[in-house]
């Protein structure tokens, strides 16, 4: 295990090299460009052998990735923010064609306004399409999630594309020390990519033809996709066990719980912001307040069972939303509405409060999180939320 000081993008590029990817399609957009640069340097220096294609736009980039995957190649691609939105057509089709593409998303504010700061809407807006979604917290986790993504996506029972979402700047552009795995460990963890229905002239198949528009076939295909997501839940747990055994780093597969025993107030959070939330939880626990933090690592398939187990006994639940969903029910963000639905129907479900924080890449400090916990503790005492939605740090 070699210890190196790298940014998140260099870590992901090394994961791609270790996974021995066959085809890389690229198109620059900050903050994902670093991955593209590092992979280009590696391929040019001969560190590994891959077909490196620069597309003319993100749409072509994801189209090429999908076709290469269906022809039997292990593929890596990536994008960010509005570039990912440009590729919406191939993104939809990659999932329903069951092409196990692994894409890295440098989470970036969706234009307009143009901004490189972190927001999760670019990933979460496409949550319904059938992509497996992982949210990383730091560079080490980004590397590990990329390896997990290949293992889970290419499994024959799953065959769904996977998205590894990393916060712009906080993960992609900050140099941190990480443990670089050895290639023998990765070979033990990742079996080769073997796809049953390949694009092969010797055994011709037609993938995704036009089907009958009176509902002859499409309905059954949708049911198959749901089954694939159910299988993905099992495979993610199995792969996490294997990962812990081979690499020595044990991650909880779906949610990471922190100080939730007997917690009156629990904050649910995604991404790098959770580090400051945990520091706030530590400071409040030291003063005797009972607070906890739950970080969602795998967003699709959604960890409803795990969240129900943790949250049903909490006094109040707060969800930190670094995204937007205009006109949504109760004015909540995307994650808040998903969490609320997961808790619906439980007779003593806690009040759920939504906190918008960090949009546009604005820093969310430890003091902000302490303020959020105080609001939740009040809600836990009075057994009801005073407001459904709070905007933290807004200039009024």
């Amino acid at each position: 295990m070699v210890r190196r000081v790298v940014t998140g993008v260099i870590a992901i590029a090394n994961a791609v090299k270790l996974a021995d990817v066959d085809v890389i399609t690229a198109y620059p957009i900050r903050p994902y460009t670093g991955v593209m640069n590092e992979l280009a340097r590696m391929v040019a220096d001969g560190e590994f052998d891959a077909e490196y294609v620069i597309a003319d736009c993100e749409h072509s980039q994801f189209e090429m990735a999908k076709h290469a995957s269906m022809a039997g190649a292990r593929v890596f691609t990536g994008s960010a923010g509005i570039g990912f939105a440009y590729a919406y057509e191939p993104i939809v089709v990659t999932a329903s064609d069951r092409a196990p593409v692994v894409a890295m998303l440098g989470d970036r504010t969706l234009d307009d306004p143009g901004c490189f700061g972190v927001e999760h809407t670019d990933a979460l807006a496409d949550r319904d399409l059938g992509w497996i979604m992982f949210f990383a917290e730091n560079a080490q986790e980004a590397l590990d999630m990329t390896l997990m993504a290949y293992r889970v996506a290419e499994d024959a029972r799953v065959l769904l594309p996977a998205l590894v979402c990393c916060d712009g700047h906080f993960i992609t552009h900050v140099y941190r020390p990480i443990d670089m795995p050895e290639s023998e460990q990765v070979k033990a963890f990742l079996p080769p990519y073997n796809r049953q229905y390949l694009l092969d002239p010797d055994r011709p198949v037609s993938i995704a033809p036009q089907v009958g528009s009176s509902g002859e076939h499409a309905y059954e295909f949708r049911r198959q996709m749901v089954e694939a997501m159910v299988a993905a839940r099992r495979i993610i747990s199995e792969a996490s066990e294997d990962f812990g055994k081979i690499f020595g780093r044990k991650y909880p597969p779906f949610v990471e719980e922190y100080m939730v025993q007997g917690a009156d107030a629990v904050l649910i959070i995604l991404g790098n912001m959770s580090m400051n939330a945990r520091e706030a939880a530590r400071q409040l626990r030291a003063k005797g307040e009972r607070v906890g933090v739950v970080r969602i690592r795998t967003y699709r398939p959604f960890p409803d069972v795990e969240l129900q187990k943790v949250l049903v006994s909490a006094g109040a639940v707060g969800v930190v939303d670094c995204n937007f969903s205009y006109g949504s029910p109760l004015g909540g963000g995307i994650v808040c509405n998903d969490v609320r639905s997961a808790l619906y129907g439980f007779p003593r479900a806690p009040p759920v409060v939504d906190f918008f924080a960090g949009l546009g890449g604005r820093e969310v400090t430890v003091e902000d999180f302490i303020g959020m916990f105080r609001i939740l503790l009040t809600a836990a005492r009075t057994r009801k939320a005073e407001k459904n939605v709070y905007w933290i740090g807004l200039r009024e």
């Binding site: 307009d112 306004p113 807004l394 200039r395 009024e396």
Partner: protein, 104 residues
């Protein structure tokens, strides 16, 4: 019509909707972003050699050389040296910034 914005970090109620910000008219100056500190060297005009041909004003990529005064506006001049290169009378020399104290 100018959309007067009082300060760049305004509250959400004061900001014009649709991500609108006031633009700088042609030949105008951007009051909210001054690029003078990009300079490592500054143009010094020798008024005795200057023939007032205005070629420096024409070539300046930042509109920093003013038409009437024929001197660089030091709040915006980036010190690229194009005016010095183009002057046919060789009246402009580029001098290192470290020779001028703040305020000169």
């Amino acid at each position: 019509m100018s959309y007067g914005l009082k300060k760049p970090l305004a509250s959400w109620k004061e900001m014009p909707p649709g991500v609108v910000v006031p633009a700088v008219p042609p030949g105008g100056k951007n009051a909210w972003y001054k690029t003078g500190n990009w300079r490592i060297q500054r143009p010094v005009v020798d008024k005795k050699k200057c023939t007032k041909c205005r070629i420096c004003w024409l070539y300046c990529p930042d509109s920093a050389i003013q038409y009437e005064l024929l001197e660089a506006d030091l709040e915006y001049c980036k010190g690229c040296g194009i005016c010095s290169r183009e002057c046919p009378a060789k009246a402009i020399t580029m001098v290192s910034e470290m020779k001028f104290r703040p305020g000169e």
